[in-house]
């Protein structure tokens, strides 16, 4: 293991060798302009000319404002759901459990949105951290669905066709609520060169928003319904985001 003094001792040899290497490879500040620069400049100018309109204006906002806008939209969707279409047995639902689920889902959603809109001038986060976030986004609503609920019985999910229709309605509701977040987050991303994990994260974040609204809207507490119609949204919208890229 090299220590600081080892490195300092070697630094003069290193400096001399590497200066020679730089000259050999043509690095550093050279007076001669590389070929193709003029054509490149024209293409950059053309890019900048195209940077007009509402989406360009939104993308240009400072990152904290871009993140705040997406979070504001999320808050608005959740707030409107809670105010306009709350679950029928909300007053009886265990308040602590509700708070834990909402905070957990909101937390993962917030981190996912931050990761999505993270600017390129910051050091790149590791692939592992993005994948971990994806897993957390899919697991959080799954754990919420499987978390046993004692002392409270929600609405009957029905059987057969009625069960399927109920699941379909919840999936549609969650998808409709998540779609604006997916659209806004995707349009406000500045880079189009992100890897698949980041693209999928946009869909997972939208699925989490769908779960947040469903948590406040759907009175069914059956774990199978929650798994199929609520928790699956994160995975489903993640796949949609990948196909949409």
């Amino acid at each position: 293991m090299a220590t600081s003094s080892d490195i300092d001792a070697l630094s003069s040899d290193m400096a001399e060798d590497m200066r020679a290497a730089r000259e050999l490879l043509g690095g550093g500040h050279q007076a001669e302009l590389p070929p193709g620069l003029e054509a490149l400049r024209k293409r950059v100018d053309a890019d900048l000319d195209r940077e007009k309109g509402l989406m360009a204006t939104l993308r240009d906002r400072p990152t904290p404002q871009r993140i705040a806008l997406v979070l504001l939209l999320t808050g608005l969707l959740v707030g409107v759901t809670a105010a306009a279409a709350p679950r029928g047995e909300l007053a009886d639902y265990p308040i602590v459990r509700m708070a834990i689920v909402l905070v957990a889902l909101s937390g993962v959603t917030g981190v996912a949105i931050w990761r999505l809109l993270r600017p390129l001038h910051l050091p790149k986060p590791s692939k592992a951290s993005t994948r971990l976030l994806l897993v957390a986004g899919v697991l959080a609503p799954t754990v919420a669905a499987l978390w046993p609920l004692y002392g409270h019985v929600g609405h009957d999910p029905g059987h057969g066709m009625a069960f399927a229709v109920g699941c379909g309605r919840c999936m549609a509701f969650g998808a409709v609520m998540g779609a604006p977040v997916l659209a806004l987050a995707t349009l406000m991303r500045r880079s189009r060169v992100d890897g698949a994990a980041v693209v999928a994260l946009a869909g997972v974040a939208a699925g989490l928003v769908g779960n947040l609204t469903l948590q406040l809207h759907c009175p069914v507490t059956d774990p199978i319904h929650l798994l199929l119609a609520h928790a699956s949204l994160a995975l489903m919208l993640g796949v949609v985001a990948l196909r949409w890229r």
Binding site: D17, M18, A21, G27, G28, V44, D47, T63, H121, P123
Partner: protein
């Protein structure tokens, strides 16, 4: 002459001429960096993307900080993403075969340059990037640390290890050879 940071501040304020000056300062350097590892069309595409991202992120720029590491972080992140998308390591690209009419020193220099590029390409990404940024692009260790999100001492250790690995690789190539040319 205005500093990079003053130019960026002017550009954020709407001075398009400031962008031209920044392009003149950084365009050539970035093109050289990218061409060291990429085909010309890919290198041009990445530099184009870097300036587009610089424009889009201009309102994020903190004018009390240095522009160079800020801009270089964008460029290196784009380059890494390209390599990641293509699922390969940087190649020892742009090796120019000596032409028939080249003689003596020129042939030798081209051959040495090709050898050095090959040796650089064998280094782990972390070491190669530090060597490129510090020794070839003359960024300070703290600037390299800022770009890579590491501590300055970690960057120095990578530079040291990379240098030793380069010396070892180049020594293997040459009978009784020393280190880098």
């Amino acid at each position: 002459m205005r500093s990079d940071e003053e130019l960026m501040q002017a550009y954020i304020g709407g001075d398009a001429a400031a962008f031209s000056e920044l392009f003149e300062r950084y365009g050539p350097m970035m093109l050289r960096i990218m061409r060291r590892q990429l085909r010309d069309d890919d290198a041009q595409e990445l530099v184009q993307q870097t300036f587009l991202q610089m424009h889009r992120a201009r309102n994020d720029f903190d004018t009390s900080r240095k522009l160079r590491p800020w801009l270089m972080t964008i460029a290196y992140n784009l380059k890494r993403e390209l390599f990641r998308r293509r699922g390969r390591k940087p190649e020892a690209a742009l090796e120019v075969e000596p032409e028939a009419e080249d003689r003596g020193d020129i042939v030798e220099r081209k051959s040495e340059a090709a050898r050095l590029r090959r040796a650089l390409a064998t280094l782990p990404d972390g070491q190669r990037e530090v060597i490129e940024m510090h020794w070839f692009e003359e960024l300070s260790f703290p600037e390299v640390a800022e770009i890579l999100g590491l501590s300055t001492s970690a960057v120095k250790v990578r530079a040291h290890r990379g240098y030793k690995a380069l010396r070892a690789t180049l020594s293997k190539d040459v009978t009784g050879g020393g280190g880098p040319p």
